[in-house]
């Protein structure tokens, strides 16, 4: 009987935690929607003009008045804000001003390309960082120095410069890869490299630090004293400790990859959320901007949940209480 009480308490705790998470997620979505709504209004110009094709379209005053009435642009800001929130709450992202289609399907159709780009970049960054960190701790003093310098340089590279340099070297000089995304796997290589290399430098620095700490810790000495090989000490003990801070940072890294996608998708002419967002901001296409930002926020929240789950998987201490 005591056992069942304990189990019920544990179940309640899990439910409580999930409810807390859900509440937090809803708060983030509300905050993102609100900030975006007000930020977009700071772009100068008449929104009715944007609906009718921008200032260059020379729309008639009658047409402008009709659009203003239809979209409610003459309403007070606060009314527009709550109307917008109400639509979002029912899952209605509205209709694009510039493109004659609903925002929901438009954004979803662009999501896949950006997700593939971000996930592949994150995976490659992890691989590069792990390889670099492992090599630097095992390859002696020279390896450590070289790895440190590589990490610093990589972490400092701006995306636009790296993208252009990669195009110049790999596409134009060597002719190995297409300079713009053609849709195939070959077209993915340069965008993924552009996003992964700076992130790998950053993750590598964190991993190397924690890897060194773990390798010098008494529990690794104890493992060696039991006859554990260097490889065993690395894989069974040290890398697990080293991956923990990098896992926690991966949620943040995913967010930075999405913002990096704006630059990379534009340079490589790749369809995706980043390019859609840039276009929508330029055209003052408010519903699309809000739609993209909302879907990125959802992806970011899911990614944070995933990294939390991964942390709990690797670190059993987090599962205890």
């Amino acid at each position: 009987m005591a056992e069942s009480v304990v189990r019920r308490r544990a179940a309640l705790r899990v439910l409580g935690r999930l409810a807390g998470r859900l509440g937090g997620a809803l708060f983030v979505l509300w905050a993102v929607a609100s900030i975006t709504f007000f930020a977009v209004r700071l772009i100068p110009g008449d929104p009715a003009q944007a609906v009718l094709g921008g200032p260059g379209s020379q729309a008639s005053p009658e047409a402008l008045a009709a659009v203003t009435a239809e979209y409610g642009f003459d309403q007070p800001v606060i009314v527009q804000y709550f109307a917008q929130l109400g639509r979002l709450a029912t899952g209605d992202l509205g209709r694009s001003y510039a493109l004659n289609m609903d925002v929901g399907p438009l954004v979803l159709s662009q999501l896949g390309g950006t997700l593939v780009l971000a996930v592949l970049s994150l995976a490659l960054a992890w691989l590069l960082a792990l390889a670099l960190a492992t090599w630097s701790t095992r390859g002696g003093l020279v390896a450590a120095r070289v790895a440190t310098s590589l990490e610093i340089v990589a972490a400092a590279l701006p995306h636009f410069w790296l993208a252009t340099s990669l195009i110049v070297v790999l596409s134009i000089w060597l002719g190995l890869l297409p300079p713009i995304s053609t849709g195939g796997v070959a077209g993915l290589v340069l965008p993924v490299l552009t996003l992964a290399i700076p992130l790998a430098g950053f993750l590598g620095q964190i991993m190397r630090e924690s890897l060194l700490t773990a390798l010098e810790s008494p529990f690794v000495l104890s493992a060696r004293a039991r006859g554990e090989s260097e490889r065993g000490a690395l894989w069974i003990h040290a890398l697990r400790h080293a991956s923990l801070p990098a896992i926690s940072l991966s949620g943040w890294a995913f967010g930075s990859l999405i913002s990096g996608a704006v630059v990379v998708e534009t340079i490589f002419a790749r369809p995706g959320l980043g390019r859609t967002l840039l276009g929508a901001v330029t055209l003052r296409d408010v519903p699309v901007v809000i739609g993209v930002v909302m879907i990125v926020a959802v992806a970011y929240i899911l990614m944070t949940l995933l990294t939390d789950a991964a942390s709990r998987l690797v670190d059993p201490r987090l599962r205890l209480s």
């Binding site: 104890s222 493992a223 060696r224 039991r226 006859g227 003990h237 205890l320």
Partner: protein, 553 residues
């Protein structure tokens, strides 16, 4: 070397002849060490930190480090030469012919792995046992090291176990394959005295079962219970080796004498613990038990009915300090002793008014202290100084000693004022340091020097009361002796009243006039130190006293 195992017997588990270990271009840290250990024998190598004892121990496992230069005339493990082995050949021996137990199992067992896995590692690496057979053996091992309910414990992480349970698990991992030689490097240093006694008994039991045990420690009293022979290491050399009775009973070398003198237990209040090697420099203190300090009956600090509870992570509350009352008389020392988790540190924080009590009150010099506002208290704070265990952590690492002390004097602005310089020098003089430490930063000082600076900082504001929370717990026994002597000196010179909090009964016995024994937040017993130590009333005090590390010859 009168007793112990016969020399060069075929049962020698370890033979070391003229072992030298060096790092880089500097002089070797181990400079020609020879000893041997028979099966069923326990040899203790005792020395201060930096004497080379841990490096010696690690060389016996081939783990002195990649950049270590190890040479010897002879180095034999279980009858086989292990000089110049390849790493692969070393790995085959580690865990199988020699096991290692380190200090503090919290960091010596991988915190991310269940202890069952850690213990099964040697079996996985050195035997062909299947998973089920390994699991069975792990349970047997946990049972053998005295861990109750092994089937539940194997799944636990080291962080979920108590200090003693962890250390048992670590020992189980080291003896999984019943190696002929077990090396234990400070195996009890981080443990409470009662747990320490249990772990020493376990090591003794392992020795009796026929394992050769090499015990490494800085504490003679600890090893005297289990070691058959003792070797004293100093500056990379074994300066004295012999049976435990011989080395401790009639120490020949000055270093051994110094270490024997440093053991505080059973030494009357006021006795010097550190041998003054330059005795001519200072007139000897009068070491009498009756005229310790000028005590009078004035109460300088009074705690009445103190209680403090904290919230656990799961929301429940626990009482860290429960109805604690005592008085401190001018010029006397009140020792508060208890094991970890007994509420000692919470009491210290309440006394310093860094925490507010839920109930009860602290009065200082007869005035409200805990009940006063922080603004009122700030004016009185100069009267109450504090010394902490982790002196390094209590300093701003970017500040030099001069800045730390100037800050404590309240002279931060007057960098070059002559009276500031004079005060700094007199403070340093009082704690036995030369003015050359002034420009140094805390990280550049030794542990003993740091604690001296901690004391100087506490003295700077001319307090009348000093609250010392484990002031010597992280120090070697010989450095501890110097710091305890120093505290005794400043107490006499300034007529200070001391609250001395420690888990170490031997230390508390040596320094205290009055004693309070704490357990689970309550004071179990209190009274004059002499009475509590000779005729303890409470069963817990009796149990605690039985576990005090004394020289047993």
């Amino acid at each position: 070397m009168s007793t112990g195992a016969p020399k060069n017997s075929p049962t020698a588990a370890l033979i070391v002849r003229n072992l030298r270990v060096g790092f880089g271009a500097v002089d070797p840290v181990v400079r020609g060490v020879s000893f041997e250990i028979a099966r069923g024998e326990c040899l203790a190598i005792v020395g201060e930190s930096g004497s080379g004892k841990s490096v010696t121990a690690r060389s016996l496992l081939g783990l002195a480090g990649a950049n270590a230069r190890v040479s010897a005339d002879r180095l034999e493990l279980d009858g086989q030469n292990v000089l110049g082995l390849t790493d692969r050949a070393w790995r085959a021996r580690r865990g199988k012919t020699v096991g290692l137990v380190l200090q503090d199992a919290l960091v010596s067992l991988d915190p991310l792995r269940p202890i069952g896995r850690e213990i099964a590692d040697s079996l996985r690496l050195h035997t062909t046992l299947g998973a089920a057979a390994r699991a069975r053996r792990v349970l047997e091992l946990l049972d053998a090291v005295g861990l109750p309910d092994p089937a539940r414990q194997v799944q636990k992480l080291s962080g979920q176990l108590s200090g003693g349970e962890r250390q048992r698990a670590l020992i189980a991992a080291a003896i999984a394959l019943d190696p002929p030689l077990l090396i234990a490097d400070e195996p009890t240093t981080a443990l409470d005295v009662t747990v320490q006694a249990q772990i020493l008994a376990l090591l003794e039991q392992i020795t009796l079962a026929g394992t050769a045990v090499l015990l490494i420690s800085h504490d003679l009293a600890v090893v005297s219970h289990v070691a058959h022979r003792v070797a004293v290491m100093h500056d990379g050399l074994l300066v004295e080796t012999g049976s435990t009775a011989q080395v401790l009973g009639s120490p020949a070398h000055v270093q051994t004498r110094r270490m024997v003198a440093a053991i505080p237990a059973d030494k009357p209040r006021g006795t010097r613990l550190s041998l003054n090697l330059r005795a001519a420099d200072a007139p000897p203190r009068i070491a009498t038990t009756d005229s310790t300090v000028a005590c009078d009956s004035t109460v300088v600090l009074e705690a009445s009915g103190l209680s403090k509870s904290f919230r656990r992570p799961d929301g429940s509350r626990f009482l860290a300090v429960d109805d604690v009352s005592f008085v401190l008389h001018r010029g006397s020392t009140l020792g508060i002793v208890g094991e970890s988790g007994s509420g000692k540190t919470t009491t210290a924080r309440l006394l310093l008014a860094l925490l507010q009590p839920d109930q009860g009150e602290v009065r200082v010099f007869g005035e409200p202290w805990s009940a006063a506002s922080e603004k009122t208290r700030r004016g009185l704070r100069v009267g109450v100084g504090a010394i902490y265990q982790d002196s390094l952590g209590s300093f701003d690492p970017r500040w030099s000693v001069a800045e730390i002390l100037r800050d404590a004097l309240g002279h931060r602005q007057q960098r070059r004022a002559p009276q500031t310089t004079a005060r700094l020098r007199s403070l340093l003089d009082e704690v036995g340091l030369a003015a050359t430490v002034l420009p140094r930063r805390p990280l550049e000082l030794s542990g003993g020097q740091r604690q001296r600076i901690g004391i100087a900082r506490a003295l700077a504001a001319r307090p009348e009361i000093l609250i010392c929370d484990e002031p010597v717990s992280s120090l070697d026994v010989s450095v501890q002796a110097q710091v305890l002597d120093l505290l005794d000196d400043v107490q006499r010179d300034r007529g200070l009243s001391l609250i001395f909090i420690s888990h170490d009964l031997g230390v508390v016995q040596h320094v205290s006039d009055q004693i309070a024994v704490m357990r689970a937040g309550r004071i179990m017993e209190s009274g004059p130190a002499a009475r509590v130590f000779t005729a303890p009333q409470h069963p817990y005090s009796v149990q605690l006293l039985a576990a005090v590390p004394r020289l047993s010859i």
